[in-house]
């Protein structure tokens, strides 16, 4: 029995039937079908969050020049306050709201009599105290149930105060995970923000999509891109702003880091404004180098190409020696990586370059295309995915522009550029790795026992579970408050942090001496 079957075997027949579709032993060259983006089983200890977490927590939260009011009881706003590590910085022209948490703090009377009045009042108070250029409203579970019309409130406030006011109906019960919330956020930004600016297009301009600046990743990527000579129009949404995002339609190219959370915007930008998108991965040296070369190939300017090579050589040179030193300490180790909906994929090449093999991998809220690649789209819609609004955009003739003709894009695709395509986890995975979709506590514990990885990469909820079992554990959602991990220097930070985690002196102190040695000494009676 392989480890997959051993773990599944412990389930009751009903759970077995469900979970067997979500766990596979990866085989190279095989179709490797996996079920994903379906309901979590109640009581199983899923690691997933909710729609609100995906909308406010992931996509909307990092926008720094927005006063985001969470409409609901206090908890939901509280838990997304400063907890994500999407770093941001204001300047003299940008009010940075990232230190603030705004909530309508709904009380029982608001639930009974409706919360619209309180929401209107809260908007008025935000305007009077902070005078923001943009307000976004995110709703929580009870708001949808009692039927508060937050969109009408937003429209009225927009009229009244002459500022942008957006509403997101991202109640926690919608969809099956955070993923629905990403989609809802994407729709709102596309409908109300992107394309509303009137900036003139600039040369070699790009948007960085699905980069949330965790631990400063986005800043590190921007530094490298600017060094080569690209102009960054907007970053969605790490250290991002409405001010920049409204001109996102002027860019020549969209670079897509986190496919899962923001591919909808990339698609819609393509349809509406003609902007091509390219899947990139700035995590791991192979990922970065390939991505930078792909971007250069897209623009096909000899100067840019030359600078790309020069920057790669220079950046790599700076870290080469130290990376090699860390590799000697990590080579031959095995790892488990359980993160998000794209991140697991991103980190595998970085681990490989350090000689670490991934034996156990999985996502929390991925869809099938995040595993198998974008070619599996379109997927059949089930009842839960139908509940998440999907918007259709049309070509905007006045603002539509393309850098390449369709024929040229086809040529580039043929040349191997990941234009409007995404390979998914399978492209990076080694044969025989165990893959778990919507991983839960039980499976984590069991697989860790069976596969005994040397390092475990996941989030806060399972970090200490695995650490208590004697395995070094690092958070890949928050980078354990370190980072950046993107870019060349980021790769070095990662290698150092992992090496530290594996070699922490306290690991040698876990066993007390009296557990190792006999503590009772004596002699046989009658021998003296």
């Amino acid at each position: 029995m392989n480890s997959r079957d051993k773990v599944l075997d412990k389930y009751s027949s009903k759970i077995y039937k469900n979970r067997k579709e979500h766990i596979i032993q990866f085989e190279e060259g095989k179709p490797n079908l996996i079920a994903a983006d379906t309901r979590a089983i109640p009581g199983i200890l899923t690691n997933r969050g909710c729609c609100y977490a995906g909308c406010k927590g992931v996509v909307i939260g990092p926008l720094k020049d927005v006063a985001t009011i969470v409409h609901g009881p206090i908890g939901c706003s509280y838990y997304t306050w400063g907890t994500r590590r999407s770093k941001s910085k204001g300047d003299e022209n940008t009010k940075d709201f990232s230190d603030y948490c705004f909530s309508t703090d709904m009380q029982e009377t608001d639930i009974v009599f409706g919360g619209e009045k309180k929401l209107k009042k809260a908007i008025k108070e935000v305007v009077e105290i902070f005078n923001p250029a943009c307000i976004m409203i995110c709703s929580t579970c009870p708001v949808g149930l009692i039927g508060d019309d937050i969109h009408a409130v937003a429209a009225e406030a927009e009229e009244l105060y002459g500022i942008k006011v957006l509403a997101f109906s991202c109640e926690g019960y919608k969809g099956v995970s955070q993923s629905g919330g990403h989609h809802i956020a994407n729709n709102g930004l596309m409908k109300h923000i992107i394309g509303t600016g009137d900036a003139e297009p600039v040369k070699y301009s790009i948007n960085l999509l699905g980069e949330y600046n965790i631990g400063g990743d986005g800043w590190e990527i921007e530094r490298i891109l600017k060094r080569i000579g690209y102009n960054i129009v907007s970053v969605m949404t790490g250290d991002g702003s409405v001010e920049e995002m409204k001109n996102a339609h002027t860019a020549d190219l969209n670079l897509l880091q986190c496919h899962r959370s923001i591919n909808y915007i990339a698609e819609m930008l393509k349809t509406k404004y003609g902007t091509a998108w390219l899947k990139v991965n700035f995590i791991g040296l192979n990922g970065i180098k390939k991505s930078l070369r792909d971007v250069a190939a897209f623009f096909n300017d000899p100067d840019l190409t030359a600078r790309t090579e020069a920057v790669i050589a220079d950046e790599e040179d700076e870290i080469k020696e130290a990376m090699a030193a860390f590799k000697t300490k990590l080579e031959g180790k095995t790892a488990a990586v359980y993160v998000g909906g794209s991140r697991t994929h991103h980190f595998i090449n970085l681990l490989k370059s350090l000689g670490v093999e991934v034996v156990l991998a999985g996502y929390e809220f991925a869809h099938r295309d995040d595993y198998e690649g974008r070619q599996v789209l379109p997927l059949k819609m089930d009842a839960d995915s139908k509940n998440i609004e999907s918007i259709v955009v049309e070509k905007d003739p006045a603002k539509f522009k393309t850098f390449h003709t369709d024929e040229q894009l086809e040529e580039l695709k043929k040349a191997g550029l990941p234009i409007e395509s995404y390979d998914g986890l399978w492209a990076e995975l080694s044969p025989n790795a165990t893959v778990t979709d919507d991983f839960n506590h039980f499976e984590t514990e069991e697989f860790v026992k069976l596969l005994k990885p040397d390092i475990f990469f996941s989030g806060i909820k399972d970090k200490y579970v695995v650490q208590k079992a004697g395995i070094p554990s690092r958070q890949i959602h928050s980078y354990d408050y370190g980072g950046p991990y993107a870019g060349f220097k980021g790769a070095l930070n990662f290698a150092r942090d992992v090496t530290l985690a594996v070699n922490t002196p306290a690991w040698d102190l876990v066993q007390a001496p009296w557990k190792r040695e006999p503590t009772l000494e004596g002699s046989l009676g009658g021998t003296e």
């Binding site: 009881p73 939901c76 306050w81 639930i111 105290i129 579970c141 926690g172 506590h441 208590k468």
Partner: protein, 454 residues
């Protein structure tokens, strides 16, 4: 840092900014983690459960285990009965706890899910228990949720069998495992047999052994919760947290109760010791007297560094009141006392405290947020902040030292293992407060004013 906070205070009636409280369910989850072999269960969207586990794990740096009913849109319309019944079956099948403690959320409360009915209909294996507490997020705060879950456990489990057990029932308040250990230590020294509910020591401060166990050694057992009904007396520490379960235990099982403040500092710990003394009729042992004397000694030795220093204390209501009393014992002026938890008792207690110590020009307010506290400070500053992590932004913005005490502390280590209650906890607090103030003096003084000896 917090650059957008204006000095001018505008009246707000709808907008909460930088809250000093969170919602009921997380308190209920924490209380349930203090029951041995218990799976806390969140009846709502799975996001609630994820957020609460995240919050608790970040404070304790230990796994906070809990399950969810994983509501979908359908369950939100038709009710979560089938979700919770499936969950109960799966939890017992896969994780095998002795007890599942279900708490509700704003979602299941808004649709009016009938948990009593669902639990009655659920298939519960022989010898296993499922209890629940209603914890609507739109009422009270995490403190209310904590009290509600303790009360729920009593409601389902505690029995008065007619035979007294000679024990004291103790409700420790919303405190850390380190505090619970100190409370137990003092009861043991006083020769008091007790049942403490909840008891998160040994659960949320479990040691590293190299082996993970989902349900560690600690926690109040089901039998102990049952036996709470046979206690001679119950003591609730922290009126705003512990009176509810103590009062309920009296109502259900005729166990008389007494409510005391959290035993922080000298006088409030004295009250705790005196209550234990009245209960056990045992003399206070020298070990306790010694600790008390040491703490008084410390306060006398160091008074010049703390006396007349102005302090702002924020956090949970019982913790803030008790910390304020200790600050006053150190000669400090509790300029601002702030809690986010609603309730009039807090302000009454604050007023009584100010009067007792004869301090003027101090503000104590409930149902308030950190944004307002920051504005008060902008208008009239303080020398020190005491509270949880979220205040560190004010500390940095206004360049005020911060002593971390209370909940949540998500940016430091060790705090949950060590007490702030009891005389020993008082010594720890005094050390932290003095270090913060004296480090500041060292940092700010001119080179020629640097003191070798202080």
């Amino acid at each position: 840092m917090l650059d957008l906070t204006p000095k001018e205070i505008a009246e707000r009636s709808a907008l909460r900014i930088n809250p000093l409280k969170t919602c009921q369910p997380v308190g209920a989850m924490y209380a349930a983690l203090g029951v041995h072999n218990c799976m806390p269960h969140s009846h709502g969207s799975q996001g609630c459960c994820s957020f609460h586990r995240m919050f608790l794990t970040r404070h304790f740096k230990d796994p906070a285990i809990a399950s969810s009913s994983s509501f979908t849109e359908g369950a939100s319309v038709f009710g979560g009965g089938s979700n919770v019944k499936t969950a109960i079956k799966n939890i017992f099948d896969i994780y095998d706890p002795d007890i599942i403690a279900v708490h509700t959320t704003c979602l299941s409360e808004t649709i009016g899910d009938d948990l009593v009915g669902y639990i009655n209909d659920a298939k519960i294996p022989e010898g296993k228990v499922v209890v629940h507490a209603n914890t609507p997020s739109y009422v009270g705060s995490h403190i209310t949720g904590y009290s509600n879950m303790i009360t729920g456990l009593i409601k389902y489990l505690s029995e008065n069998t007619g035979v007294k057990n000679g024990k004291l029932g103790l409700f420790p308040g919303f405190v850390n495992p380190g505090d619970m250990r100190e409370m137990k230590k003092l009861m043991t020294l006083m020769g008091v047999e007790y049942i403490m509910l909840p008891d998160t020591s040994g659960v949320m401060d479990a040691p590293m052994t190299g082996t993970y166990t989902m349900f560690p050694k600690g926690g109040t057992t089901i039998d102990e919760i049952k036996d709470l009904g046979n206690c001679e007396l119950s003591v609730g520490l922290g009126e705003m947290t512990s009176e509810m379960p103590a009062e309920f235990l009296e109502k259900k099982c005729k166990v008389p109760y007494q409510v005391l403040p959290l035993p922080i500092g000298i006088e409030l710990t004295d009250q705790y010791i005196m209550a234990l003394n009245h209960f056990s009729k045992n003399e206070v042992p020298y070990a306790i007297e010694e600790e008390r004397g040491q703490l008084v000694d410390i306060l006398l030795d160091s008074h010049q560094y703390s006396q007349n220093k102005k302090v702002a204390i924020y956090g949970d209501p019982d913790t803030v009141i008790a910390l304020a009393q200790f600050a006053l014992e150190m000669g400090m002026i509790p300029k601002y006392l702030a809690t986010g938890t609603p309730g009039k008792i807090f302000e009454q207690k604050v007023a009584a405290l100010f009067e007792k110590f004869g301090v003027e020009d101090c503000i104590g307010k409930g149902n308030v947020d950190l944004f307002e506290l920051h504005q008060w400070i902008k208008n009239d500053g303080v020398d020190l902040l005491i509270g949880g992590t979220h205040g560190k932004y004010i500390a940095k913005a206004e360049d005020i030292p911060l002593v971390r005490a209370g909940f949540p502390i998500v940016d430091r280590y060790v705090h949950s293992y060590l007490p702030i209650v009891g005389y020993k906890g008082g010594m720890r607090l005094a050390e932290m407060i003095l270090n913060a103030l004296m480090d500041r003096q060292d940092r700010n003084c001119a080179d020629e004013d640097m003191e070798m000896i202080m």
